[in-house]
């Protein structure tokens, strides 16, 4: 039986929702958008960086601007009412999707990075001090690693890193040691964007809570690719970005346990987040608006809800199955080439991405050559420079999959990798 026959949904039908997948590339890279010099079909395998946007989501954006664009919250006129209803409901959609209690627990941010910074500033600067520690993992993305590192420097708190083992998983014995009575926060990536490792967040949450610490799950790579439930994971904070899950750029979400968000001081100040202001003093709005200062990303919030509906229709279990199918297939085929080193756990224990290097070919050269075959992969440090340092490499190439990718596209990747190897051999 071909691998294709195991697809958990109709991948060709999904592809039809994404006009960008029909693009040709290969021509002048300084012309924005397809032009006459483009002649090679696109094989887009850079989904861990950003995913494409299906027509229903593009439509949600256009419908907003063409139909009921307005500022929210305070307006009595009808357009403002409609925009408010849609924008506020988008918070409910996110809450439902990840198993939060309600919109009070969902703060819209620019992206995962801002969500991490929000907690680091609003909670970290207040709560951390010398003697305290924050526990991360060695596979953190810069979004969490640099943020907590710098908040550590500002507050005097120690920042520690749970070690990554040879096989690319977290050393849980080391976790049990690093998380101690002085730990205030454990901030760990759910699915690594470099190794593809799926970390045991619930186990880490239990460890953190046993020590009265909080836990923040960086779910930038997990919420888009599998069912995620904040209650099951028992996390205090969790964050993800819309642009990695069929949504628009410029929107992300922070989940926070209501009691914790409630006790936190605001982060950004301005309109919409206040209750009463005098020249001397201010008081704050209810959750989640207390954390959403200024005119919010209204169209993007509404489009994020549309993206979630799109994903929900596919079904997150099926999305996960599809991711795993392609990851395992790619892992096996790349391994068979003999000339490829893959980082992280085996093919059947990882998220839908594969980071690797080819003998004798620098990752940047590889990516340039693959681009010539229409194959878009990311090459670089994937915002995990320290992890790359630990692996003893400066860069790697990464192929990452999403709901519209096919087995044939993985084949195209593997053929191109093989040709690149030959070119340099």
């Amino acid at each position: 039986m071909g691998v294709q026959e195991q697809y958990p949904f109709d991948v060709q039908a999904v592809r039809a929702d994404f006009p960008i997948l029909d693009r040709l590339v290969g021509g002048d890279p300084t012309t924005v958008g397809q032009d006459d010099s483009d002649d090679t079909p696109l094989v887009y395998l850079d989904n861990a960086a950003t995913t494409h946007t299906p027509e229903p989501v593009v439509d949600a954006i256009a419908n907003y601007y063409r139909g009921y664009n307005s500022n929210v919250h305070r307006g009595i006129h009808q357009l403002s009412q409609e925009a408010s209803v849609a924008y506020e409901r988008a918070h409910d959609t996110v809450a439902d999707f990840i198993g939060a209690a309600g919109r009070e627990e969902i703060v819209f941010t620019k992206n995962t990075t801002e969500a991490l910074n929000l907690v680091a500033y609003a909670w970290g600067l207040e709560e951390l001090g010398p003697g305290d520690n924050v526990v991360l993992s060695e596979m953190e993305h810069h979004a969490s690693l640099v943020t907590w590192q710098q908040i550590g420097k500002k507050t005097g708190a120690d920042v520690r890193f749970i070690e990554v083992t040879e096989d690319g998983t977290l050393d849980m014995a080391d976790a049990a040691e690093k998380i101690d009575d002085d730990t205030e926060m454990v901030s760990v990536v759910h699915v690594s964007n470099t190794l593809g490792t799926v970390n045991p967040i619930r186990e880490l949450a239990d460890m953190a809570h046993d020590r009265d610490a909080l836990i923040f799950a960086d779910a930038a790579q997990s919420v888009p690719t599998r069912p995620v439930d904040v209650t099951d994971l028992d996390v205090d904070f969790l964050a993800f970005s819309g642009h990695k899950m069929c949504g628009p750029t410029g929107i992300g979400a922070l989940y926070g346990r209501e009691a914790i968000l409630d006790a936190m001081s605001p982060y950004l100040y301005g309109g919409e987040m206040i209750r009463r202001v005098t020249y001397e003093e201010s008081t704050w709005e209810d959750l989640p608006w207390k954390f959403e200062a200024g005119t919010p990303s209204i169209a993007q919030g509404i489009a994020l809800a549309a993206a979630i509906e799109y994903m929900d229709d596919l079904g997150m279990e099926r999305v996960q199955a599809h991711e795993e199918l392609l990851a395992e297939y790619a892992y096996d085929r790349l391994t068979d080439l003999g000339s490829v080193e893959i980082y992280g756990p085996p093919g059947d224990e990882r998220g839908g991405l594969v980071a690797f290097n080819v003998d004798g070919v620098h990752a940047h050269d590889l990516s340039s050559i693959l681009n010539d075959y229409g194959v878009a992969v990311r090459a670089g440090d994937h915002c995990t420079q320290p992890l790359h340092g630990k692996l003893g490499i400066a860069a790697s190439a990464r192929a990452s999959f999403y709901v519209y990718n096919t087995v044939e596209e993985v084949d195209a990747l593997v053929d191109a990798v093989s040709d690149a190897y030959d070119l340099f051999a």
Binding site: G26, P29, H362, A363, H364, D365, S368, I369, A394, F424
Partner: protein, 137 residues
């Protein structure tokens, strides 16, 4: 097919696989190391001067990086010998891509010019015209 295949013409691959002037000098007039953080490419250039310090006598380079940066440094090292410092500073990005004989895609230009940048910066520091702490990479 786009720039990629072009970018790896025989000459580039040859210089990448068999870099010219690869190594270090025992007693250089100046040495400088620079990197392109977005690639992780690092290049060290050792230069011996002649003619009262006005002309480049010998060049050696070493380092680690992609084919574009390594081949470019290798080809440049051949060109540099006999050049004046003034000529070195006159080298522009276009001169480098012309030397390479291939079109360089915009995201790879930084790789292509790394060797030139390191040599220019090294020469300026040697003459006290550049504060090593103020280098923009």
């Amino acid at each position: 097919m786009g720039l990629g295949s072009d970018m790896y013409r025989q000459q580039i691959l040859d210089h990448y696989k068999n870099p010219r002037n690869y190594g270090e000098l025992e007693d250089p007039d100046f040495t400088h190391v620079g990197e392109n953080p977005s690639c992780g490419d690092t290049i060290r250039v050792d230069v011996a001067l002649d003619d009262g310090g006005e002309t480049i006598d010998t060049v050696r380079f070493s380092g680690d990086g992609c084919a574009i940066s390594m081949a470019s440094a290798s080809m440049l090292s051949e060109r540099l010998e006999g050049m004046t410092i003034e000529e070195l500073h006159a080298l522009e990005t276009d001169d480098i891509t012309e030397m390479l004989g291939v079109e360089i895609s915009p995201m790879r230009v930084k790789c292509a010019v790394l060797g030139r940048q390191v040599t220019q910066d090294g020469a300026k520091i040697h003459r006290g015209e550049l504060d090593p702490d103020r280098i923009e990479e």
